[in-house]
Subunit: 432 residues, 2 copies
C-alpha cells in the first residue's frame, strides 16, 4: 500500500490509508486508545479500539505503521482522525526518554544545554525541527538565485596549508607527516576560481574558527554561504547583488515556510532595491551623537544593535550596510579605497542588530597584493600558491559570505546561534 503522509490525511476522507511515524502522544480512555502520529510532514490523530494487547505495548516515541480509515471528527485537531484497523510496532524505546517533547516549546522547561545534549530527541519537537526546514529553504534560495545569475557551484578543500590571515585562530590538522589547518573560509580558493575563468562562483560549505570565547553568536564550525565575482567596478556591485540575493531568498522562505515563520512570530523583511549604507566613520558618529556611545574602532555587539535600531527608526529598514572599514581592520587582500587609501572597499551587513555578512572588493594586482602582504609583516613566500593567479591575468573582483546559521537565527529571532546548527561545535562541545 502506498504511504500517506500525516499532512495528506485530511484530503483522504472516507479512504483507507497507510501511515508510518512516531507516537507523539498517547491517551488511553477505557477501550479506546487515542494517539497522535507524527511523521516528517506533521501530525494526525488516530484511534485504536478495543486492542488493549497492542495499546499496552505502545510508548510515546514508539515507531509504528498503521492501516486505517479516515473519518470526520470535529473534535480532532485537523477535523478528522484515522480509525486504526491494523497497527504494527516497528521499534519502541526500551527506557524512559530524557526529555518529554510532546508539549509546547515554552512548556518544555528544559535548558538549551540539555536540549543540545539530547539533540536528536529535541529535534523531533516540531518547533525545533522547523528551524531546519527554514534553513534548508534559505540555502536553496541562495543556490537558486546564484545559479540563475550564471554562478558556478564549487567545492574547495577544507584542509589547507596556511590560513588566509597567516595563522591565528586556526585548528591544526595532522596531515600525514605535516601540520595542516582547517580552512577559516574559502577566501583564497574562491578568488582563484574567479581567476581560473569561472568568473562567478559560490560555495556552501563548512568553515572553521578556533576562537576560544563562547558567545551566543559564535560557532567554531559553521556553514558559510560564499560568493565571489569577477569584473566588478567596485564594492557597490556586491552590495547591489546581495540586496537582490536576499530579496530572492526571503521571498522563497515567505512563500514556503508560512507555518514555520508563524511558530517564531518571524516577519520576513522587505528588502529595498538599495539597502541603506553608512560608512564606519558615520556609524561611529551616530553612535556617539545619538546614543552617547564612544567607540574605539570595531563595532561591538551593542553598537551593532544600536545601529540597526537607528536604521529601523530613521531609514525604515532592518538591514544596514556598514562600509569603508580601515585597512588595519581588514585582511591583506582587501582593496584600498582609491579616495582614502587608509580605508578599504569593504562592507559588513547588519541584520536586526547582528553582522551576517562580511565582504568587499579584493586587490587584483600582483604587486599591490605582495606589498599588502608584506605590510602585515607576512611573507609572500607562504602565499605562493595563492599569488600565482595574480600573475596570470586577474580581473577586478570581490565577494562576500553569509553565515547560514546567523541568517537563520536572525530571521527566526532565536536567542542563540547554536539553535540553528544541527550539531553545534563550540569550545566545550564535540558531541553529539
Amino acid at each position: 500500500m502506498i504511504r500517506t503522509l500525516a499532512i495528506e490525511v485530511p484530503h483522504k476522507l472516507n479512504e483507507k490509508v497507510f501511515l508510518q511515524g512516531w507516537v507523539y502522544n498517547l491517551r488511553p480512555i477505557g477501550k479506546l486508545c487515542f494517539l497522535v502520529l507524527r511523521d516528517r510532514s506533521g501530525t494526525v490523530q488516530a484511534v485504536l479500539y478495543d486492542r488493549a494487547d497492542l495499546a499496552q505495548q505502545l510508548r510515546e516515541e514508539s515507531v509504528i505503521e498503521l492501516v486505517g480509515y479516515v473519518r470526520r471528527d470535529e473534535r480532532a485537531p485537523n477535523g478528522c482522525e484515522v480509525l486504526i484497523s491494523d497497527l504494527k510496532i516497528l521499534s519502541t524505546p526500551p527506557e524512559a526518554l530524557p526529555i518529554q517533547i510532546n508539549r509546547p516549546r515554552a512548556a518544555l522547561n528544559t535548558r538549551l544545554e540539555t536540549l543540545l545534549e539530547h539533540r536528536v530527541l529535541g529535534l523531533r519537537h516540531p518547533e525545533i525541527g522547523a528551524i531546519f526546514r527554514v534553513q534548508a529553504e534559505l540555502v536553496h534560495g541562495f543556490r537558486e538565485f546564484l545559479t540563475h545569475e550564471g554562478f558556478l557551484e564549487v567545492h574547495t578543500p577544507k584542509i589547507v596549508a596556511s590560513g588566509t590571515e597567516g595563522g591565528t585562530e586556526l585548528f591544526p590538522v595532522q596531515y600525514f607527516d605535516r601540520t595542516a589547518y582547517l580552512a577559516q573560509s574559502p577566501q583564497f580558493y574562491k578568488q582563484m576560481l574567479v581567476g581560473a575563468g569561472f568568473e562567478r562562483v559560490f560555495e556552501v560549505g563548512p568553515v572553521y574558527r578556533a576562537e576560544p570565547h563562547s558567545t551566543t553568536r559564535h560557532l567554531n564550525e559553521y556553514i558559510s554561504l560564499d560568493i565571489e565575482m569577477g569584473f566588478i567596478e567596485s564594492e557597490q556591485d556586491l552590495l547591489a547583488l546581495e540586496a537582490r540575493l536576499l530579496r530572492h531568498i526571503f521571498a522563497r522562505v515567505r512563500e514556503r515556510c508560512a507555518r514555520e515563520l508563524a511558530i517564531y512570530s518571524a516577519t520576513v523583511p522587505d528588502v529595498p532595491d538599495k539597502i541603506p549604507q553608512i560608512t564606519l566613520a558615520e556609524a561611529q558618529e551616530i553612535l556617539q551623537e545619538r546614543f552617547n556611545k564612544q567607540n574605539a574602532g570595531d563595532l561591538d555587539p551593542e553598537s551593532e544593535r544600536l545601529l540597526c535600531r537607528y536604521a529601523q527608526e530613521e531609514l525604515g529598514c532592518e538591514l544596514l550596510f556598514v562600509t569603508h572599514y580601515p585597512r588595519e581592520k581588514r585582511p591583506m587582500y582587501a582593496m584600498p579605497d582609491p579616495e582614502d587609501p587608509t580605508l578599504t572597499r569593504s562592507f559588513d551587513l547588519l541584520y536586526k542588530g547582528l553582522e551576517i555578512t562580511t565582504g568587499g572588493q579584493r586587490i587584483h594586482r600582483y604587486e599591490m597584493l605582495v606589498e599588502s602582504i608584506r605590510g602585515r609583516g607576512l611573507d609572500p613566500k607562504n602565499f605562493e600558491f595563492y599569488l600565482e593567479v595574480f600573475k596570470c591575468g586577474m580581473p577586478p573582483h570581490g565577494g562576500f559570505a553569509i553565515g547560514a546559521e546567523r541568517l537563520t537565527m536572525q530571521l527566526l529571532n532565536l536567542a542563540n546561534v547554536r539553535e540553528a546548527s544541527f550539531f553545534p561545535r563550540d569550545r566545550t562541545r564535540l558531541t553529539p
Copy 2:
C-alpha cells in the same frame, strides 16, 4: 553598457557589444591584431585595427574589456567577429606563463602533475573547465531529485569526537585542548537525523580518509553525496531509489552538457528501471569461471573492471550492483541478512569498472547494535552520542553515498580522480 557574453555574440549581428574576458589567443598581422576573447561562456574572435599602441601591450591571458561591432565573417570560428572600437586592459601577466593553454588538450604535452601544480591556469583550458560544469550539474541533479522526493538537505559537523569505525584512517585535529578527528563520512549524523524525525535527509559535503596510499582512484578529501532514508523494508528500496536518482542526474547532464560530453566522447548511460544486481558470492564465481580469477574476498580494481565487462556484455548495462557483503567486510552498523546472518543487507554500485557507491540497510535496534559494536572489539561507551537515538524509537532505515569526483571521472572517462577535484588533496599535495 550591458555586458554581452561570448556565447551570445552570434545573436548580436550588426550590433554594438561590450565584452569582458581574457585574451585566449593573439595574432598580429600587419595593421590588424586578431584576438580570441574567452569568458565564462566560451570564446569569440575580435579584431583590433591600426592600434599598434594597444596591440603591443596585449599578452595572452591579459584581462580586457572591449566595445565593438559584430559583423559576419565566414572565416571566423562562429561565423562572426567583433570589430573593436574601444579596448581597455584591466590586467596583464607580468611574466611568461608556466603553461600555454590555448592549444588542444592533447597538444598541451603537460603532465597531470604540472597541470595540478598550476591548477588555476590549467582550469582556464576550456576542456579542463568543462569537467566542473558537468560536476556542478551532477550535484544539481542529485539535489533536485531528492528535494522533490521529500528529502531535507542537512549539514553535519566534520569535526567529530570519534570515527565511525573506531579510529583507523582518521586525520587528527587539535580541537582546543582535545584531540578530535575529521569525519570519514556523515554516517552517524545522517542516521541520527533520520531518527530525529526528518526521515529522509541528504548531504553534499567533504569527507576525509587518511589513507596513505596513492592511487588514481583515491583522494584524501572528497565530496560525498550522502543519502539516508527511514521506513525502508530492505536494502532493495535503496537500490531502486539509486536507480531513479541516477536516471534523473544523467538526464539532466545529457540535456545541459552536450558540449562538455562531446569533448570527452562521453555517453550518458541509460539507467534501466532495475539495475542488474549480483551477490558478492556470485561475483566471485563469475570472476573464477569466466575470467579464471581467484578472489580472496574484497574485489580488487581488476575484479571491478572484469565484473563491469561481464555486466556490459551479458546484461547490457554499464552499472552493476554487488550485494550481500559478509559482515566482517562491512561496518558494525550494517544490517545482517536475516537469511544468512554472516552476510549483510549491503551493496556497492560499480560503474564502468569502479565502485562509485557504498550503501545498505542499517541496524535500527539498540540491543543488536550494541552487540555488533562489541563484536568488533569496540566499546559502546565511545558511541554513546550515536547510540542514544536507538533508545528513542528508530525506524528501519538505510542509505548510501556517491563519490562526486568518482562519478564525474567515470562519466567523462577521466584517467585520474584528481582531474575531477578543483584542488585535490593527496598524500603529498596540500597546495594549491
